[in-house]
Symmetry: C2
Subunit: 458 residues, 2 copies
């Protein structure tokens, strides 16, 4: 006789045959769906044909699919996933001891692959569909460099050319990210650049800008639509990216169900929203259906507070205002974030799925200043032995605060957070923290207003 | 009914309860033992009391133990191991396809922890024994920075102070390694330094030297013996380090036995010899006992060829000539290796265990120049999605050649190699390879003679 609940190890690795075979599309479970993309000219919902010049066809289908709750993962992608998945679900025994909390803390660690983050989950999928469509070239942007690294790996695996527009300030903070992508064969261009019209325009207006994800997206899209046999791919925000990232949440849920673990609160960092969306996906569907009462907490940097201080409005996804309009929490596509070290969270908007769930009250949001986040990162590194990416450290700080609340109340809650990546390429940020030179910039209301003034106001 | 041979996944992770509970001491299986350490003054074998001022007592016991084939791993270390072990044994399906070889290629991947290498296996053990002995401070050296990073993590975990002498050229090639160690709380000093007598002497004689492991060891030992409640710890070469690293080989053997995999050849890189010694340990014992006919291949850089071009002689372990004399393959303690990017392989000597096994014909050895190694590293990264450390890439190149031999002969041999770590902190090396600026320096016989001239000649 096999016992239903197995004894719980430090790290739970699923067997290969327990890995999810489908992605989870949380939109199918949502009672009210996120608003569709709006064409900025016609002000009508975008149709498939309008998206095809920019995106791969299968990804457009996934992007527009709000009805199928489960979408099969092709065998070729499952094979790729087996190269670096399943990822471990870790019980943070050492951290619990360090924080002296009755809470049980778990984290799903997505940094155990060479790209160093969860981004590979979507890169593996997107390049597969591009290859299947016969494309030979892709363009993208990268902020912290995690997405660019992951996509470079995936493009090397499938044999597809890649041009990466890397946010200039990130390229300067992390020169070796660039070398990593080049080692995988990618062509890396610092953005804003003079290789595109939109890059030239931004440089003319803001010659000293360190760039932003919004700028880099504009450049990558422009290059994709002007090139032969080429499409643009994006590492966050979009619905199909959250869909691919649901593999994180599904694995977590399978592992937790296997060992009888029921989270009370799930914490994730949120930049474009893909890791948070992926982590919470199946848990959120259950919450919507009244099957659990989990609290979901999104953590963002105080320097780029789209959820906590942004507006829920139709906005462009990029600074160059070339994308369809997206209903999301946003600081305005003209918001140029400060050079916070968590480059992956430096985006003016937020996934429309996360935005809608937040607006409907399913998700809470909090923001932290940088040095508080790095203090948590350092404590985590020293007790759990994993050096977190600055982005991931936002989730750590959020989990710390939940655990310390439990210490006050004496409640033994179960806290799950997403540890999205490692900080190997973020040592200049740690150096600035170690030397006490870290900025805790928070935008003033006036700063934010400048961004809001760029909203299309429809 | 349970099938004995389970279906083989891409990555084999043992269950926690399958993890080894003891280390394997290959010396117990060796028919002729490695020679004991010799006191340079008395020319007699060193006794325990002579080693205690430098090393922790339990480690000295392990160092001198040539009789017990299995030595229990204390529970506290097993708990630490569970933070980052078991490590995966990976079937390199993509690489096999890329090389178009009938060979089956496996690698044991030790880079899946934040220190990024196998070094944590011994760090976790050594700091535990130091803490148990009531020590409050440790000193060590680091070359590539892998050992220093691992030890910093272990010291943070146990709450023990640490001073790391980092080989100067490595510190310059990898500035962020230093920041990583500092983030874990270590005091990092570039070697040769003016903090020790031996450092001052070396600097006076070779003001432009990039340093070497041998120099850094001298400085760390000097500081340890001059400090209160402090000992020196070493990340390779010594018998107890190979003992701790046997966890790698034991896990590999358990996983292979579980799935009915029998290696024909095992390849590892060899600097000080600890990863190779750990990986082969249980397989070698079986070979000695006639239970298998595995070929063992050590790969070293052509720039520091201790096995392939060194002498089997009594020599000091450090440049300052302060250690006991060790019978090993050596280039002479005065050999100052060129600034090859595989800093972890830049050591003049070789583990006495590996040296003895090599001398007795149980191990083969090969050397490669740097750019051949990086070419293999890049190909591996692009097909398997893991960016290898330059040290590990030597084993990859060795495995490639074995696989290509199989392609010629049509034999479907089973090749196992040790993938000891990741190259996240080695991007300047990859950059130099990408830009075609990599040196393929090989020492002349005259260069080697200068090192041999420093042998104590006993």
């Amino acid at each position: 006789m096999v016992l239903k609940m197995q004894q719980e190890p430090y790290k739970i690795y699923l067997e290969e045959n327990e890995m999810p075979k489908s992605w989870h599309n949380v939109r199918a479970a949502m009672k009210e769906k996120p608003e569709p993309f709006i064409h900025p000219g016609t002000r009508q919902p975008c149709v498939k044909a309008e998206l095809l010049p920019v995106f791969c066809e299968d990804l457009v289908d996934q992007e527009l699919n709000v009805t199928d709750e489960y979408i099969s993962i092709p065998d070729e992608i499952l094979s790729f996933y087996k190269m670096f998945r399943p990822s471990p679900l870790v019980r943070a025994y050492c951290l619990e001891k360090e924080l002296d909390t009755p809470a049980k803390i778990y984290y799903k660690f997505e940094g155990n692959n060479t790209s160093g983050s969860h981004k590979l989950n979507s890169a593996a999928a997107q390049v597969y569909y591009a290859k299947k469509q016969g494309l030979t070239h892709l363009t993208t942007e990268t902020g912290a460099g995690q997405w660019g690294s992951a996509l470079s790996m995936a493009c090397a695996y499938y044999g597809v050319d890649l041009t990466v527009y890397m946010v200039k300030i990130s390229g300067e903070q992390k020169p070796y990210r660039k070398v990593l992508m080049q080692t995988y064969g990618a062509n890396v261009i610092l953005s804003p650049s003079d290789t595109t019209d939109v890059g030239k325009k931004i440089l003319a207006e803001h010659p000293d800008t360190g760039g932003s994800l919004g700028c880099a997206i504009s450049e990558a899209i422009e290059t994709a639509v002007k090139s032969q046999n080429c499409r643009y791919v994006l590492g966050s925000v979009l619905n199909h990216v959250l869909l691919h990232q649901s593999v994180v949440g599904l694995e977590t849920k399978i592992a937790m169900d296997k060992y009888g673990i029921a989270p009370d609160v799930i914490v994730g960092c949120a930049g474009g929203g893909s890791n948070l969306g992926g982590l919470i996906s199946p848990f959120m569907a259950d919450k919507i259906n009244g099957k659990n009462n989990i609290r979901f907490v999104a953590i963002e940097p105080a320097s780029c507070p789209s959820l906590t201080r942004g507006k829920y409005a139709l906005d462009f996804g990029d600074t160059g205002q070339t994308t369809p309009l997206i209903k999301m929490y946003t600081l305005g596509s003209g918001f140029l974030p400060s050079p916070n070290h968590a480059g992956g969270l430096r985006y003016h908007g937020m996934s429309p799925i996360i935005s809608k769930l937040y607006d409907d009250g399913y998700i809470e949001a909090k923001s932290y200043v940088q040095s508080d986040v790095f203090e948590a990162a350092q404590k985590f590194a020293r007790s759990e032995g994993i050096l977190p990416a600055p982005e991931s450290a936002h989730a750590i700080k959020g989990a710390f605060d939940e655990a310390l609340k439990c210490k006050e109340t004496g409640e033994a809650k179960t806290i799950l957070f997403g540890l999205t990546g490692t900080g190997y390429f973020d040592m200049s940020a740690y150096q600035s923290f170690n030397e006490g030179k870290m900025s805790d910039y928070v935008p003033t209301d006036e700063d934010l207003q400048k961004g809001f003034d760029t909203l299309p106001g429809c």
